[in-house]
Structures are given as C-alpha cells and as structure tokens.
Symmetry: C2
Subunit: 153 residues, 2 copies
C-alpha cells in the first residue's frame, strides 16, 4: 500500500469535481508537468485508488425521481443463505446500493424508481422474489439533502 502526498490528494480532489478534465489542465492545477501528472494518475488508477469515472446524469432526463430505502431481513445468517440472496439482488438494475448490515435488519438497499407505479413493479417482480426474505420494509425519500460521491478530502 502506498502513501499519498499532497499532490496525489490534489489530483483526486480535482478529478472528483471534474472527472473529464484534460491531463494538461489537471497537471497545471496540481503544479506538475503533464508527463509527471500522467504517470501519477496512471498509478492511482491501476492501484485501484481511483476505481472509475462516471458521468452524472440529470434525474429529470432519466425520469428516475423516486428513491426508496428498503430494509430486508432473511430467514437465517448462514453463508449459503447470504450468498444466494446477494447473487439475486445483484441482478436487479434498480438497486443502486446494497449493504449487509449489523443490527435489526440484515440488508439495506437503495432503490431507484421512476414513480410509485414503477416501484410497485420493482417490489413485485424483484424484491418479493428475492430468496430467503422474511421481511421487507420500504421507506421513501422525500428529499435528497446530500449526495456526495466520496468523502470530502
């Protein structure tokens, strides 16, 4: 594992805000020559510190206006049970986030839907069909207060 100095952090911070900046401009912002900057960026990408770049699309354009938080309990905590559940949940394209959790519920999901009707379909065709589920609890987001891609550096 490598150490990250101030320049690496500046590269990450800059690319977090503008992931499609040119290498030349990036180099200028962090105070390096283009070649040195390109090499450092290459290391950050290949080591997995920067795991990808993604366009952020306007919610309006995609019509996914509804976010649901879904708490799910399974019938047991056996490895096979968890594995089968996770394999199934990965197939649902509307599930943005899924965590195995400590506490009252086994999994927490963040699900995107176009509207309530769409969510009803997702719930019926996907969530209810997940294996080993004994309890599903859906809550709906009324407002998105924060949605940061990463921790503020």
């Amino acid at each position: 594992m490598s150490e990250h100095d101030a320049i690496d952090l500046a590269i990450m911070r800059t690319l977090q805000k503008n992931g499609r900046i040119s290498n030349a401009e990036l180099a200028q912002k962090v105070g390096l020559s283009a070649s040195a900057c390109s090499r450092r960026l290459d290391i950050l990408e290949k080591s997995g510190v920067i795991s990808g770049y993604h366009a952020r699309l306007s919610h309006k354009a995609l019509d996914y206006k509804m976010i649901a938080i879904v708490h799910i309990s399974l019938s047991g905590q056996f490895a096979k049970t968890l594995t089968e559940f996770e394999a199934a949940v990965r197939l649902c394209p509307n599930v943005l986030v899924c965590y195995l959790m400590s506490g009252e519920y086994d999994y927490i999901l963040r699900v995107a839907a176009k509207d309530l009707e769409d969510y009803e379909r997702i719930h019926r065709d996907w969530l209810s069909a997940l294996p080993h589920v004994v309890k599903i609890n859906s809550s709906f987001a009324l407002r998105e207060v924060i949605d940061r891609p990463n921790v503020g550096l």
Copy 2:
C-alpha cells in the same frame, strides 16, 4: 427541451460506465463519426442532461473502511426544524448521503469513517451536535454488496 434518441442514450450509457473514455472511442461505440459525437456530447452537457463527471475513489484505499447507516429522528417536522438540521448536517464531510424520509425515522444518513474510533469521534463531534435530534440509531455495514453510481439504462 429536446428529445433523446437511441444514440443519445447510448452516449449517456457509455459515459456512465466510463466517464473518461476518449471522444474517438465513444464515437465508435455509438456508431458516429468523432465530430458528430463531439457535437452531440456538447449539447448533452450544455443542456444539463449530463451534469458532470466524477472520479470514483475507493473508500478502502483512502482508509475509509467503515460505512455506517444512521437513522435520525427530530423533535418535530416544522420547516424551520428541518432547515436547521439540514444546514448543519451538510457541514459534516463524512456524511455521504442524507435523505429526508417518510416512515419511522426522519432522516437516513450514510456515513464514512476510517475505523470504529474515527466513527466514535464523528458521532460525538458531529452527529450528536446536530440540532433538534431526539434519537440516533447507528448500524454498521459488514459488507458492500452493490454500489452503483446510477441506474442501469
């Protein structure tokens, strides 16, 4: 407001998966010449359909290995109460996501911490200090099963 055809959708889908792809490669993937692709992309960006590009940083690589899901209840649902809470929570850099919710709890937060000790600090210095909070419930992620930036188109 413009309509989006299959090519526009292909551009969005591609850039969602790889936001730093070159325009030449993007053009090839969607079946356009580089110039036509560049012009369409320009329109998508300037119209706000694509609102930005962001590098995705590995939380683990940055030593943020711990994700907590925090459920919070406030003392009331008055507009002033919500506004003050939201203004305060926005200041905490460790809060990645915050939704105002329907259901049992008022807010759900996703918080990144380096370790349990770090989370204890965040809880003490930030979360406990949020105004109008009457109940905080923290759960910890044991495993990240899915973390997608956007809905699969």
